[in-house]
């Protein structure tokens, strides 16, 4: 379970998160929507301890991670799988070495089993015979899927997806949506999905949270968000240029 209370984060004069409160239940899939630069990626980096808040609490399964040392954060981070917005594959490693990277550090398997898991993880994201390639030989979409395979390889309890469908064709994006759903149904994985893609949000999310002005302005099931009376939410989900959101 993830509980965030009164989270503040500023970069100089830019106040990105301003007292954000959010709870994600175990086994739930939460989609976080919001305009570009609204702090969605900053939010998930706080959840995994890659950033420290200026103020507020982030509690993961009963442990407040804000005051933990790097060594203590290691145990918290092994619960998480993170798909980065631009995949963040290691340039100097092959696809196979990328996917086995976390697996070798978080789990203790013999080399044959590791290779088996690597190939299985790549197959889950629709990739075959790419394990020997270097990241620069992959398309943007393939990189994203390798990044996803790397994140799911060690079967984390919590998955954080930073714009999983960006840069991928609609068919492949839907396959990734199915994978997110399968992870929840089969492994009871808790997921937080950062997205602009409302089709994806409606399909995968149990609840959708709208981030605006550093706070969650509305959170609820997809139908509730679709029928929201909040003009900010309506403008965003319908992608209208006119409305209360001006800061594009």
């Amino acid at each position: 379970m993830i509980e965030i209370q009164g989270l503040h984060k500023s970069f100089g004069a830019n106040r990105v998160l301003q007292g954000l409160d959010l709870t994600v239940s175990k086994g739930e899939t939460l989609a976080v929507i919001g305009q570009s630069g609204s702090g969605k990626s900053i939010l998930i980096k706080h959840m995994i301890g890659l950033m420290r808040p200026d103020r507020g609490r982030i509690v993961i399964d009963g442990v407040d991670i804000c005051c933990l040392s790097e060594r203590e954060l290691y145990d918290v981070r092994r619960k998480f799988g993170l798909l980065f917005q631009a995949a963040a594959l290691f340039d100097s490693l092959t696809v196979e070495e990328n996917v086995r990277f976390g697996l070798e550090r978080y789990q203790d398997h013999p080399p044959d089993r590791i290779r088996e898991i690597v190939l299985d993880s790549l197959a889950k994201v629709g990739l075959r015979d790419v394990e020997h390639l270097m990241p620069y030989e992959l398309s943007g979409g393939m990189k994203k899927r390798v990044g996803l395979a790397r994140a799911i390889a060690y079967e984390p309890e919590i998955m954080l997806y930073d714009e999983p469908s960006t840069g991928i064709d609609p068919i492949r994006a839907d396959a990734i949506n199915d994978l997110i759903l399968r992870m929840q149904q089969e492994l009871n994985v808790t997921s937080v999905v950062i997205t602009h893609d409302m089709t994806s949000a409606y399909k995968v999310a149990d609840r959708i949270a709208m981030l605006y002005n550093g706070k969650i302005v509305q959170i609820g099931p997809p139908d509730e968000i679709r029928d929201s009376a909040d003009p900010v939410v309506q403008q965003f989900i319908h992608g209208r240029a006119e409305g209360p959101i001006k800061e594009y």
């Binding site: 980096k45 995994i48 301890g49 890659l50 790097e70 290691y74 981070r77 092994r78 998480f80 799988g81 993170l82 980065f84 917005q85 631009a86 963040a88 594959l89 290691f90 340039d91 990277f101 976390g102 550090r105 978080y106 790397r150």
Partner: protein, 261 residues
């Protein structure tokens, strides 16, 4: 109206020195933690050592030649014709204790320090450093420790190699100028002590550590895209070069001139 004077940023200087010191401490502590990144370390040995051989060869050869030339002129002019053969120890001493460590240190700063800053800086801005954290690897142990160790080991080896090339080139130049080969070699072997060579190697080891830690530090501090990476690489070269030159003086003062080993 008088221009508002900007105070010298002492606080920034101390803060930076503190950051480098902390990074060095964490990287050094990484040597005693498992897993040691063996493949990364071997890769760095090759990058820093083997791939620097051509540039070190050229630098040492021309350093030796020009030092041989000036020593020849100096002895010929101030002591007289025939005295040039006594320049051998001067050339060897100057090369092993000062010129080769400094030249190699500066060349490695340009070739390796900037590459470290650029590579780690690129990893930083493309979130690969965050990915290391998320996948259970400490970026300092994974990136900095192998580079630091490889640099501390390889720079002295390059300096020793440069010493041999430089002394050989100084000798060849003097022989070509008609200097008495027998006296030149006899004096060189008589007056050049093992400690002189060791002094240069100790300096080189310190330079190696400083170059690696400053390169990695600048890489980890990189911000703001390709421009930020370029700035980090430039700063790594400038800061490490200045550090090498300053440290060289203090090490020359601190290390005893003679020591029986």
């Amino acid at each position: 109206m008088a221009a508002e004077s900007k105070p010298f940023p002492f606080s920034t200087l101390f803060s930076n020195v503190g950051q480098v010191g902390l990074l060095f401490g964490r990287a050094a502590a990484g040597l005693f933690h498992k897993p040691f990144e063996r493949e990364n370390f071997l890769q760095q040995l090759e990058d820093i050592g083997v791939r620097s051989l051509p540039v070190v060869s050229l630098t040492a050869a021309f350093g030796g030649l020009v030092f041989g030339l000036q020593t020849y002129i100096g002895f010929h002019r101030f002591i007289g014709p025939g005295s040039e053969a006594y320049g051998g120890p001067v050339i060897s001493l100057g090369l092993t204790k000062e010129l080769i460590p400094i030249l190699v240190g500066l060349m490695i700063t340009g070739r390796v320090g900037s590459a470290m800053a650029a590579e780690i800086g690129t990893m930083k801005i493309t979130e690969q450093v965050d990915a290391l954290y998320s996948l259970g690897a400490d970026p300092v142990r994974y990136l900095v420790t192998p580079r630091l160790l490889a640099s501390v080991i390889m720079v002295p080896i390059l300096v020793l190699y440069g010493d041999i090339i430089g002394i050989a080139c100084g000798y060849i130049y003097n022989i070509m100028m008609g200097v008495n080969q027998h006296i030149y070699l006899k004096n060189t072997l008589l007056y050049l002590e093992f400690w002189d060579v060791v002094t240069g190697l100790i300096k080189a080891s310190v330079f190696g550590g400083v170059i690696a830690i400053i390169g990695c530090w600048q890489g980890l501090e990189a911000r703001g895209g390709a421009e930020g990476v370029g700035r980090a690489a430039t700063r790594a070269v400038v800061v490490a070069s200045i550090a090498v030159l300053i440290l060289n003086f203090f090490l020359s003062k601190a290390l005893p001139a003679d020591m029986v080993i």
